[in-house]
Symmetry: D2
Subunit: 323 residues, 4 copies
């Protein structure tokens, strides 16, 4: 089941980027949970690089974010699983229509594969491909993850568990005050850059996780590495810990011992590669005699918008261990 | 199912470190595969830090490896699933007796938790704990993984897929010629040190992996992060790629695009923390009025013995995608 | 995952009877399958007890079938997974709006439990209940099963496997020519009656099924017993075979030996109980001082409409074994 | 995972009838359960058609039971998961050696398929077959089910849930006092006969079961139909209910409404076909020019020994819903 995540809270995602809709079904949510719709809207805005609706004044901004994301408000249509805003214990199905879908922008992709994108491997794997903006490989799919993740976060919050992710590095820059500037510089040069997201989980009960194959860190890694463009996951002392002896670092658990939460803050980091689709990259493709006039809409630093997706996937991973 | 890995080749691991045996059941192996028992013996020796049986002459060596590992030859007892050395398509059950089990060495652990070990969290989670050498949390459990992984590797090899892991860094040292020396230095100081293992997969068919949640990198990360002491996983440009712009690195796929193998070599790395149980660490525990005279048997650099386990888990992860 | 059926073709069903929609997500369908939409419409008509659209002339009929079923045409809205009518290998999501939903018809049910219905147990289990016409327990949920089952049947047909179910008994009556009459008689008396459906599968490759827990008969029984009102499943000689000695019946396999298809026709039967909601039953409920003016819309013999659902669930069960 | 049953309590069965051993791994059992070994011995005796050890005096009996079953005491060897008789929360592995295995008795089967047995379909499916007494298809595999089922029954009993199966029909005979006589009569004629087992579950909490695909009756049917020789499953009014109108039987729930336990006794029945291997059947095989001098050891009415297996599988099915 390649489009389903989790067994206790089972989330099935569907939808192509420029098809009718993206959406999902979230099964396993207990009855009686009041869903906070405003929080879901806020998180979808965050994922889209939009200012939250309540803060916007005329001009929209969102540094290094594709125009489509800014323009298109994601409206969630709820199909099942709730009655008067309260969950019924039955599957919660929802969809977000692709209002701003413009397949014609991608006509040129019918006969062309973009470097660093999944165009070619999809066609090799399936023999057919939805060429419209990456189809299912598009980051638009993560909107559905954010909706499901919000519901998971609400349940976790009710149990005293909080998840907070943030961007801690862009290129070589580690001062958050300078991230926007750094991204803008790469964007001006028709280039793109990667970033590191750190996530902190608090309130997790001691014992969360299963000690052999389903270690907490393994489940988190699985969830996070399933996000587009993510190239690495580490927790606690991570890769840098390799140079420091046991006597120095063995008290740093990163919140997990033997695959099980030890009651302290869980800290992990993940890295996102630069966007492959940049004006420069497209110029190169064009040299191979491919003619096109319009260019897909993309971000200069996907790590920015990955932050709420990291939180969503973390929530979906953790909620499996709640019961 | 916290002790089962995989759905198509489903591997269930069992056994406590100082109980009767460790072992496993491997289900889903097709009928008609000839099992190469010699290769399994070699890999178990490699995991145990023993010279392969055929190369040994009198003195055993294995730098930074615990005495138990060296002494105890792992004999696999096959219980089912084969007839005349050929698989029947039925579950393959096997066990390795804990011949050198000495629970009395661990009596002192009954009322004591070791720093950096899972002793305390196990007791918190289960209310009961097998104090005998870490019980199920012991790295001895990985012997069963190696056996199952060998069978998976044999099937992969028959399809032209090879897996090769190696230690590429110990502490700050990246020259393999100096690894033994580096480890020995930490060992002399009663300390321990981490290491980085790199793994290269060749021959993987284009399209291997599932593009949304079960991305090839997510499945590999899940498998590898389930190994004791592993603190991070990355592939392709990994964490270091964060400082390099898209124009420079977006042609480096690490063998995976959109969650799917692209037909080039897959390269990933993982980091192992230093062993928590060192003479120094034990001296500290002793200060808290715990009396003991014997010390458990442990390695100075677990990354050494993790190499065949990384290969085994990689094989078990990949074999799920074969059919 | 209580709302998901199958692992290779994974079908997730959602929707309350009188909520916005019922629908589903079917994941695992290979790319390149042309979906026959006309066949799906025909099967939905069959499930609803409607004459197929192309045969209707003015008056609708459907003996013993609820007025809602007849009135409401089920229009499938396709959300994802296809491009120009061909499957992409990505999840196929669809919904059927509840156009004729009339929650007000069921207002009286807010504070009342119907005999033989799941009203009370749902409330006991979940603490909350969608009182609108049975919510998720309504047979309307089977419309989604029929859509998914049709796609499975199309794939099976492409591989030469056919499924044909039919009603073979209504009450004590075994002559199909008299079924309509028999049902009408019970309906006139304000009563209801059960029926037996027989299903024949042809073209199943020898070896289909897994010999221990996932025997072909176990998977079929699981699929069929999940249909509302089904009280029993048998194959081959079934329950009646108990009186006949081995020498007489052991050559009758019912198409399955040792849990595996033997290449002959698979034959199974299942029994459906009478509808619990009948005018008589409601009259009894009313005596307990519950006031209502409208009555839910129900069938006199649910076995009639169960026939295409039996085929759908059979197809969904078999398709798991295809690859 | 064709040899694993259940997800919360996950039971993996292994072993060929005349290989080294049969056994299993039971994962998911909570820590702290005291295992009643005497009860397991009693149930294994019951499955084997042996008088319980404590009641035996010199001569063994067991009407219609194969000599091997009577002779061979099943000794369970516990490999993991317990410490001082108490479960650790880790996988419980066990094996039963095939002490009386006599592969040479089955040499003639190497080139012959028995009617009504899985010999031929196994070879067609796998291309290879363990010809030694049916290999994995032998009912000996159910010994492992009984061990696991006993542990499940102990956990259920601790929660006030009881399971009691009994033989209610043999051939046309429904008076238990005459079952032994009936079976003996068929045995004398070199023939065999089927039987019906009824099972009653008490104490099941209201709400047990999942209302859509994983209905309680569907899970029970799946578990029971996975037992060798079982040809049908029904609950409540079952197949006979087809002739009785709703007004008469709709208050009979069989303990399950809408797929969920309603708090009353759950009653189901299942039917077992006659043994295919009888002296008469073998005489027929011999006519096809197959030479053999020894005959496999089999029962005249397998339904007798199926009773504890029905209880075991019921327990394994129910225990999935406990948490």
């Amino acid at each position: 089941m390649a489009n389903t995540f989790g067994e206790k809270w089972s989330f099935t995602s569907f939808g192509e980027s420029h098809g009718a809709a993206v959406g999902g079904v979230l099964d396993g949510v207990p009855a009686g949970l009041h869903i906070d719709l405003a929080m879901i809207r806020t998180e979808l805005d965050r994922r889209a690089g939009r200012e939250p609706a309540e803060k916007r004044q005329g001009s929209q901004q969102g540094i290094g974010v594709s125009p489509r994301a800014i323009r298109e408000e994601d409206e969630v249509e709820w199909l099942s699983g709730t009655l008067d805003g309260v969950t019924l214990g039955t599957p919660i199905a929802f969809l977000i229509r692709n209002k701003d879908a413009r397949p014609e922008d991608y006509e040129w992709l019918k006969h062309s594969y973009r470097t660093g994108h999944a165009d070619k491997v999809y066609e090799q794997k399936y023999g057919i491909r939805d060429w419209r903006g990456g189809g299912r490989a598009s980051a638009r799919e993560t909107a559905a993850r954010v909706v499901a993740g919000c519901i998971a976060k609400q349940e976790l919050a009710a149990k005293g568990i909080s998840i907070r992710a943030s961007l801690i590095q862009v290129g070589a820059e580690t001062d958050p005050a300078k991230f926007a500037e750094t991204i803008a510089a790469y964007q001006r040069e028709g280039d793109s850059i990667g970033g590191i997201v750190e996530c902190r989980i608090n309130g997790l009960p001691v014992g969360t996780g299963e000690p052999i194959f389903n270690k907490l860190q393994a489940e988190l890694a699985f969830a996070i590495m399933s996000i587009n463009a993510c190239k690495g996951f580490e927790y606690g002392t991570g890769f840098e810990g390799v140079t420091r002896p046991g006597s120095e670092i063995n008290h740093i658990s990163g919140g997990i011992v033997g695959g099980i939460a030890d009651g302290t803050e869980v800290v992990f980091r993940c890295v996102f590669k630069p966007t492959p689709t940049t004006p420069n990259a497209l110029a190169k493709v064009q040299k191979d005699d491919v003619q096109y006039t319009k260019v897909g809409r993309h971000d200069a630093c996907v790590a920015v918008r990955a932050v709420p997706v990291v939180e969503a996937m973390t929530a979906l991973a953790l909620v499996q261990f709640l019961y």
